[in-house]
């Protein structure tokens, strides 16, 4: 038992270790930011690499905690993302007085997500979700002297408290009608009665809130825009990824008896999410807000794949999120590099960027193409497989609407491309000095964007784990 305990909970334990290490360092006040950041980066890299080894399938704490190869992979995707974040926003991190605290918060949230993915009952699920949320609200407020940052944090904490209330109400109804909070027992107890549908809707809305599914998405853009870039990236990539994983697991496993209900729910909300996300993204000027709405639309796509309720669905969602990590982080990384050097966050400021910063421009272009689903970037494969998985249910109208939404999304991605490559500007952003670590991370992202799609074994690898 003890050995198994350490092996199975390895990711969480490692993360906890890092958190405490950071706290001790902070208390000791021994290290400069640069050194510390390097240390953190190394630790996170080790965490990521370590994630590949000693993975075992198993259950702990009477089913409260479960893990499997797929879950390990999902956690590792998140680890990778966190590692990339630590590289990409190095410039910003170094300027922070409270950098260790930021990482403590971020890694706590990560820990919450790990528990979330591994959670085996509704209580663990709820606690992990809160652990994954509350520190992020604090992270959102990290630009302490910016009004927008506080506003964003306020919106986040209040909205999420509200959504927690709804979620809890839903959980209580599930509990009341079945008497169980265990994921393993619930499928046998759910029967699709109206009250359970009501409970499902309440639960669903909480997931939807975290995933920014329309109409529960409204906090997203404001929080993304106001928060520091690193927080935004964390929210949009890691938080979303983790919730998508557990959402999928919950729907596929726990609510399998009610799959007809949630299939339709997912379909309707998917369409609404794509359409609304796209329509809002059309007219955004701020790059973070723009990426916020774009990520909302992306979630709409994830839902398409998710709706398939099949192995292909799981695989394609995990695959897509892997790709999404690379693409979105690359976009945020470029935006961060520009913002931290010039303070410019508007798309119009990007005009003529290519003339002065070709590297950033190409990475941004790759990232946006990948988000738009243009070959040969991985985003193409990701989206296509999501659609293919979704199409297996045979709803042509749904798939057609989804496919047509790709056009709108292409339009606004091209708007950025156009600003970067085509528009004339007498005063383009000057040549930016990119942190070496950020440059390295951008290269990783770029390579990921290209290779994850073309190398088909990655997809097969995921499929084998499912």
């Amino acid at each position: 038992m003890p050995n198994e305990f350490f092996i199975l909970m390895k990711p969480e334990l490692v993360l906890t270790g890092i958190i405490f290490l950071l706290l001790f360092i902070k208390l000791g006040k021994g290290l400069k930011n640069d050194t510390l950041l390097l240390l953190i980066q190394v630790l996170l890299l080790l965490n990521f690499i370590g994630g590949f080894f000693f993975n075992k399938e198993g259950v702990l704490f009477d089913g409260m905690y479960q893990t499997s190869a797929l879950i390990a992979l999902q956690k590792n995707i998140l680890s990778l993302a966190v590692y990339l974040i630590s590289l990409l926003f190095a410039d910003w991190f170094k300027k922070q007085e409270h950098m260790p605290e930021f990482f403590v918060l971020m890694l706590s949230a990560m820990l919450g997500m790990f528990f979330l993915i591994s959670s085996g009952n509704l209580l663990m699920f709820f606690l992990a979700l809160e652990l994954a949320t509350i520190p992020v609200a604090a992270m959102a407020n990290f630009d302490l002297d910016k009004k927008r940052s506080s506003e964003a944090a306020m919106k986040m904490i209040l909205s999420s408290a509200f959504s927690s209330g709804i979620l809890l109400f839903g959980i209580s109804l599930v509990y009341g009608s079945t008497g169980s909070i265990s994921f393993a027992e619930l499928p046998g107890l759910l029967n699709g009665s109206p009250l359970q549908i009501l409970a499902l809707v309440f639960l669903f809305s909480a997931f939807a809130f975290k995933l920014s599914i329309v109409p529960f998405h409204l906090w997203t853009a404001d929080v993304y825009e106001g928060s520091p870039m690193a927080t935004t990236a964390f929210l949009s990539v890691i938080s979303k990824g983790a919730v998508a994983f557990i959402f999928m697991a919950t729907l596929y496993k726990v609510f399998q008896p009610m799959h007809e209900v949630w299939y339709n729910m997912v379909m309707i909300l998917s369409i609404a999410t794509m359409v609304i996300g796209n329509l809002f993204a059309l007219r955004q000027q701020n790059i973070k807000r723009f990426l916020a709405f774009s990520s909302i639309a992306q979630v709409g796509f994830i839902l398409v794949g998710l709706s398939s309720n099949s192995i292909e669905g799981t695989t394609s969602v995990v695959y897509f999120i892997l790709i999404y990590v690379f693409s979105n982080l690359a976009a945020f990384g470029v935006a961060a590099a520009i913002a931290s050097n010039t303070g410019k966050e508007n798309i119009d400021d990007y005009k003529g960027l290519y003339r002065t910063n070709p590297f950033l421009s190409w990475v941004l272009a790759l990232a946006l193409f990948s988000l738009a689903g243009i070959p040969p970037t991985a985003g193409f494969f990701g989206k296509l497989f999501l659609l293919t998985a979704g199409a297996s249910k045979g709803s042509f109208l749904f798939i057609t609407i989804a496919a047509l939404n790709m056009i709108i999304s292409l339009y606004y991605y091209l708007r950025v491309i156009r600003a970067v490559f085509m528009d004339q500007n007498d005063e383009p952003i000057e040549k930016i000095r990119i942190e070496p670590s950020a440059k390295f991370a951008l290269m990783i992202c770029g390579a990921g964007i290209i290779l994850v799609g073309l190398l088909s074994w990655i997809y097969d690898y995921i499929q084998n784990l499912v």
């Binding site: 209580l123 709820f126 606690l127 809160e130 509350i134 609200a137 604090a138 407020n141 302490l144 002297d145 910016k146 009004k147 927008r148 506080s150 506003e151 964003a152 944090a153 306020m154 919106k155 904490i157 209040l158 408290a161 509200f162 927690s164 209330g165 809890l168 109400f169 959980i171 209580s172 109804l173 509990y175 009341g176 008497g179 169980s180 909070i181 853009a221 404001d222 929080v223 825009e225 106001g226 007219r283």
Partner: protein, 104 residues
């Protein structure tokens, strides 16, 4: 009047829940909004306890849920209040209508 039972509890909790929700919708002061959230969480706690008491008395899941929710509520309130105070410092107001710079 009937002997109080499950449905009474559920009625109270549901009503409390939506009173909290109403407060959350209408209060302009951030602290009072937070108070409304506390009402909401309390109503849920009551739900869990009621279910545990009347239906699923063979285990204590509902009870534990309540305990943890209380803990979470505390943590949430703490962070929320920290954020509100910070917001007050920058805005000199905790009126929610004054914090809507981020929109559209």
């Amino acid at each position: 009047m009937m002997e109080p039972g499950l449905y009474h509890m559920l009625f109270i909790s549901a009503t409390l829940f939506f009173i909290g929700v109403y407060g959350f919708f209408t209060r302009r002061n951030l602290v009072t909004m937070l108070m409304s959230v506390e009402l909401v969480l309390n109503s849920v706690n009551l739900n869990f306890i009621a279910f545990n008491k009347y239906l699923w008395y063979d285990k204590m899941d509902g009870l534990f849920f309540t305990i943890f929710v209380i803990a979470i509520a505390a943590a949430e309130a703490a962070v929320a209040i920290a954020i509100i105070i910070n917001l007050y410092r920058s805005h000199n107001s905790i009126d929610v209508e004054n914090a809507e710079e981020l929109k559209y």
